[in-house]
C-alpha cells in the first residue's frame, strides 16, 4: 500500500473529482463530504510520503510498471515531498473553510464547482509529483484549464479576466512545451533524471540555451513574475472567493516549485548558475520585481486586489532567492515557498471571511472590525505579520535566510529590495488595521454590527494562523532535516 503513495496523491483527488461531479447530479449534499474525504486521504498520504522520504530517501514510482526513461515516473524527494505536504494540507483546510461561501454562491452548480476544484488539486499535485517533463505539461494544462473555469465562474468581469488569463496562460504553457520539445530533439528523453544526466555533456549547446530560456520564461509567465504578471491581479481579484482562496496560495507557488526543479535539478546548478552567467542579471531583475510589486500593491485601493498584488512580491523573492545560487539563498527560497502557501492561505481566508459577512470590502466599512470579528482579525494580523516578516512567524525565518543569502552573494540590491518590501507590506496592512481600529471619519448610520464568521470558517483560519507561528518556531528543525538536505550537491 505505502509503495503506491506517489500515485495515490494524484489519483485520489482525480477520482474524487468524478465522484463530486456525479454527486452534484444525484445528491448535491454529498459533494462536500466526498471531497473532504478525498482531500483528507490526499493530505494524509502526502504527509506519510514525506515521512517515508525523510526516512528512506527518494521514492520513485513507475506508472504502469514501465521502467524509467520510457514510461512516466513519479519521483518524490525532499523538495517536492514538502511541497506536496504543504499544498495538500492547504487544499484540505481551504475545502473546509469555503463550504459556506460555496453554498451561498454556487447552490445551483455545486457539483461543477467542487469537481473543478478537485481537478485543480489533481493538477497541482501532479505537477509537483511527476518526474517527467512532458507529463508535467499535461498536468499543468489540467491545473490551468480548471483554474480558468473556476475564475470564470465569478460574476461581473470575471469571464473577461479569465479570458485574459487563458491567453497569457496558454502562451506560457506553449513556451514551456516548446522548450521541452527542444530538449527532446536534442536528447531524445523526457524523463527529468535522464535529461539531467544527458544534459551534463551538452553544456555548450546553443539549442539547450534556447530551451532553458524559453522554458524559464514560460514558467515565469505562469508564476506571474514581473513584468509577466499582467493577468494575475485581475484574474485573482474577479474570481469568486472560494476559487481565489484555492488558486492564489497554490498555482503560483507550484509554478515556483517547477522553476526550482528545473533550475536546480534538471539543468543543474552548474549550468544554471555557472555556465549560463545569467544568475546576477536574474537577481537584479528579481530585486526590480520586488520593488515593482511593492509599488503596484501600494497603489491598490481594493483589499482583495491588494493582497493579490502581494503575491507578486513573494514570487519575486523566490526567483531571486533561487538564483542567488548559494545555500542560504536557495534554502530560503524553498522555505519561503512552503511558508508562503500558508501565509497566503491565511490572509486570503481571513479576508474571505470578512467578505462573507460584508459584501463590499472598502476601507469605509471596516470600522470596528476588531471587536466584531476578533478571531478573523487576529488571524489576519498573524498572516500579515508573517508576510511583513516579524518573528516568531515563519515568514521571518525564510526572509532571514534570503537576506543572508543575498549578503553572502554580495547582492546588496536584493537585500535592500527585501527590506523595503517588508516595510511596504507593513504599510499596506496597517492601512487596513488602522481603518478597522479607528474608522474612516464619522461612523455611518447604516452601519450594522457584524458577527464573527461562521465556525466552519473561523476554526480552519485559526488553525492556519497557529500553524504559521508553529512553523516559525519549528523552522530550525524543518530547515535542517528537510530543506537543506533537499538541495542538490552543486549548490555551495
Amino acid at each position: 500500500m505505502t509503495s503506491h503513495l506517489p500515485a495515490l496523491v494524484v489519483t485520489v483527488p482525480l477520482l474524487t473529482a468524478f465522484a463530486a461531479f456525479a454527486a452534484g447530479w444525484l445528491r448535491p449534499k454529498l459533494c462536500f463530504p466526498v471531497g473532504l474525504t478525498g482531500l483528507g486521504i490526499t493530505a494524509i498520504s502526502s504527509i506519510w510520503l514525506l515521512a517515508e522520504v525523510l526516512e528512506a530517501g527518494t521514492v520513485t514510482y513507475e506508472l504502469g510498471r514501465w521502467p524509467a526513461p520510457w514510461g512516466i515516473v513519479y519521483v518524490v524527494d525532499r523538495l517536492n515531498g514538502v511541497v506536496l505536504a504543504a499544498i495538500s494540507l492547504c487544499a484540505f483546510i481551504q475545502w473546509i473553510s469555503s463550504r459556506a461561501s460555496v453554498k451561498s454562491q454556487f447552490s445551483d452548480r455545486i457539483g461543477a464547482f467542487y469537481g473543478l476544484e478537485l481537478l485543480f488539486v489533481t493538477g497541482v499535485m501532479g505537477i509537483t509529483v511527476t518526474g517527467d517533463a512532458f507529463n508535467l505539461y499535461v498536468l499543468l494544462e489540467i491545473a490551468s484549464i480548471t483554474a480558468y473555469a473556476l475564475i470564470a465562474m465569478g460574476g461581473g468581469r470575471a469571464p473577461l479576466s479569465s479570458l485574459n488569463y487563458v491567453f497569457m496562460g496558454t502562451i506560457g504553457a506553449c513556451f514551456y512545451l516548446l522548450g521541452v520539445g527542444y530538449l527532446y530533439i536534442m536528447t531524445g528523453s523526457l524523463n527529468m533524471a535522464d535529461l539531467a544526466s544527458i544534459l551534463q555533456g551538452m553544456r555548450s549547446s546553443q539549442a539547450i540555451l534556447v530551451a532553458f530560456v524559453i522554458i524559464i520564461v514560460g514558467v515565469w509567465l505562469k508564476m506571474g513574475f514581473f513584468p509577466l504578471h499582467g493577468w494575475l491581479p485581475n484574474a485573482y481579484t474577479h474570481a469568486p472567493w472560494p476559487a481565489t482562496t484555492l488558486i492564489a496560495p497554490l498555482m503560483t507557488k507550484v509554478m515556483a516549485y517547477v522553476m526550482m526543479r528545473l533550475v536546480l535539478f534538471l539543468f543543474g546548478p552548474e549550468y544554471s548558475f555557472g555556465v549560463l552567467g545569467l544568475k546576477d542579471v536574474v537577481v537584479w531583475w528579481a530585486s526590480l520585481a520586488v520593488v515593482a510589486g511593492s509599488v503596484i500593491a501600494l497603489s491598490q485601493k481594493d483589499l482583495k486586489r491588494m493582497i493579490t498584488c502581494i503575491i507578486l512580491i513573494e514570487i519575486a523573492y523566490m526567483v531571486g532567492g533561487t538564483f542567488l545560487g548559494n545555500r542560504s539563498g536557495t534554502t530560503g527560497a524553498i522555505f519561503h515557498l512552503v511558508n508562503d502557501v500558508f501565509m497566503t492561505l491565511c490572509v486570503f481566508l481571513a479576508v474571505s471571511s470578512l467578505a462573507f459577512r460584508q459584501r463590499e470590502l472598502d476601507m469605509d466599512t471596516m470600522e470596528g472590525l476588531f471587536s466584531e470579528m476578533p478571531f478573523t482579525m487576529g488571524a489576519l494580523v498573524t498572516g500579515a505579520l508573517s508576510i511583513v516578516g516579524v518573528p516568531p512567524t515563519c515568514g521571518f525565518f525564510s526572509k532571514w535566510l534570503l537576506l543572508k543569502g543575498a549578503l553572502e552573494a554580495g547582492h546588496y540590491e536584493f537585500m535592500v529590495a527585501l527590506i523595503l518590501s517588508s516595510l511596504v507590506c507593513l504599510v499596506l496592512f496597517f492601512r487596513v488595521f488602522e481603518a478597522a481600529y479607528f474608522g474612516h471619519g464619522e461612523r455611518s448610520h447604516g452601519h450594522h454590527r457584524m458577527r464573527e464568521a461562521p465556525l466552519g470558517m473561523v476554526v480552519p483560519l485559526l488553525v492556519v494562523a497557529i500553524g504559521i507561528v508553529a512553523l516559525g518556531l519549528m523552522s530550525g528543525e524543518v530547515i535542517s532535516s528537510i530543506i537543506e538536505p533537499a538541495l542538490p550537491r552543486g549548490v555551495l
Binding site: M415, I419, S422, F438
Partner: protein, 494 residues
Amino acid sequence: MGTEVNSILPLLAVMVSAAVVPILASSRSANVREAWTFVAAFGKVGIVLAMLPHVLRGDKLSFEIAPVFPGVSLAFRVDAMGELFALVSSFLWIVTSAYSIGYMRGLKEHGQTRYYSYFALAMSSTMGVAFSANLLTLYVFYELLSFATYPLVTHHQDEEGRSAGRRYLTYIVGGSIGLVLPAMLVCYGSSQTLDFTPGGILANSGLSRFELGLLLFMFVFGFAKAAIMPFHSWLPAAMVAPTPVSALLHAVAVVKVGVFSILRVLVGIMGFELLLGQALGGILILVASVTIVGASLVALCQDGLKKMLAYSTVGQLSYIVLGASLLSENGLSGGLIHIATHAFGKITLFFCAGAIYVATGKQNISELNGIGRRMPLTMASFLIASMSIIGVPPTAGFLSKWLLITASVDSGRLEGLFVLLLSSLLSAGYLIPVVYRAFFLPQPEGEPTSVVAEWRSPCSIAAMVTSFGCLLMFLSPGLLLGLARKAAELYLGV
C-alpha cells in the same frame, strides 16, 4: 564564575502575564479583570525574586524554547543585567496597575478590557527582552512589544491617536526592520552566533573600523525605542496615550527596552574591548551628548506637562547610552543603575501629572499655579522625583549620576562630565519651576480651593509609593549596586 543551570523560571516569568490575557480579554467584569492583573503582576515579581538568589550567586538560569538556526536558538538566560531590569519593570508593573485602575475608572475610559490585555502582553515582551540569551530572541520580543503597545498608544482611537500611532510604528518598526535586522545579519554572517558573550562576538570578525562604526550606528539608531535624536519624535507624539501608558512607555517598558537592547549589543555583541580598540566610544558619546543637551533644551520650552516630561525622558535615556559608551566598568554600572533610578523618578512624575489631570483636568504647566495647596502630597512626590531626575541627594538619581560622573572623570572624558553637569542644570531649569508654581504662586481667582482627597486616589498613592522608592534606593543601594557590579564583572571580567 557561576554555572549555567537549566530552569523553567525565566519562561514562567515571561509567560505569567501572557497567560492571563485570555482571562482578561473574555471577562466582562472590571473587578475580575483587575484582580487577575494583580495576580499576574505579583506572580511576576515573585518569580523574578525567586531567581534573584541564583543571579547573586553568579549562576545563570537558562531555558531553550526552540533552535532556529545553526548556532542560534530562541532561548532565555538570566544574568545580573537582565535581572536588574526585570526587577525594576516587574515591580513597577504592580504600581502601574494600581494606578491604571484609579486612572481608567476615574476618567471612565472606554475599551478597558483591551487596555489591560495589551498591557499584560507588553509586560511579557519586556520580560522576554530582559531575559533574552541572544540577539535574535531579543529581537523577537522587541518586535512583539512594538505591536503590543500600539493599541495602548492609540487607546483614544481619535485623529491624534491615529497620527501618533503611525509615527510610533514608523520609527520603531522601521528602525528595527530597516536597521537592526540587516545589522544582526551581518553579525551572524561574520561570527555564526548571536549569543550575548562577554567580550562580544565580533572580536575576530575582521570587520574594518568603518564597518564596525556603521554596525554600531545601525544598532543605536535602529533600536529607536531608545529615542536617540533624531529618532526621538515618536515619544513626545505618543503622549496622547492615557497617562499610565505613558508611564509604561517611559519607565516600565518601551524606552527602557530600547536602551537595554543597546547596552546588550554594546557589551555582548560588539564588546567593550573591540570598541575601545577601534576608538568608537567617542563618537557614541557625541551622539548621546547631543541628544542629552538638545532634548533638555526642548523640554525647557514646553508648556504641556506630559510633553515636557517626554523630552526630559529623551535626554535622560541618553545618560544610559553615554554611560555605556564610556566603555568602563563604572560607566556600565552607572548606566544600568540609571535604568532603575530614572524609571522610579520618571514614573513618579507621570503619576503626578496624571493624578493632577484626574483630579482637576489640568494638563499645562502654566495652569498649575497653587496646585500644591490642593494636592500637597502629590506635589511633594513630584518634588522628590524631580530631585532624583536632577540628581540631588538624598534621592536615587544622585547615585547613578555620581557613578556616571566618576566614570567620565576616570576615563578622561571631560566632555561627558560637562554634559552631565549642564544637563543637571537644565533639568533643574524645567522641573523646579513646576514645583515653584505649585507651592509658591497663588491660585487664579475663581478656582476651587478645596483640598483633594489624595489618600483615596490610587493615582496619588501610586506616586507616593514610587517617590518613596526614589528615597529608599538612595538609602539602601546595596541590591542595585550589587547587581550592576555583577553585570559589569560578568561582561567586562573585572
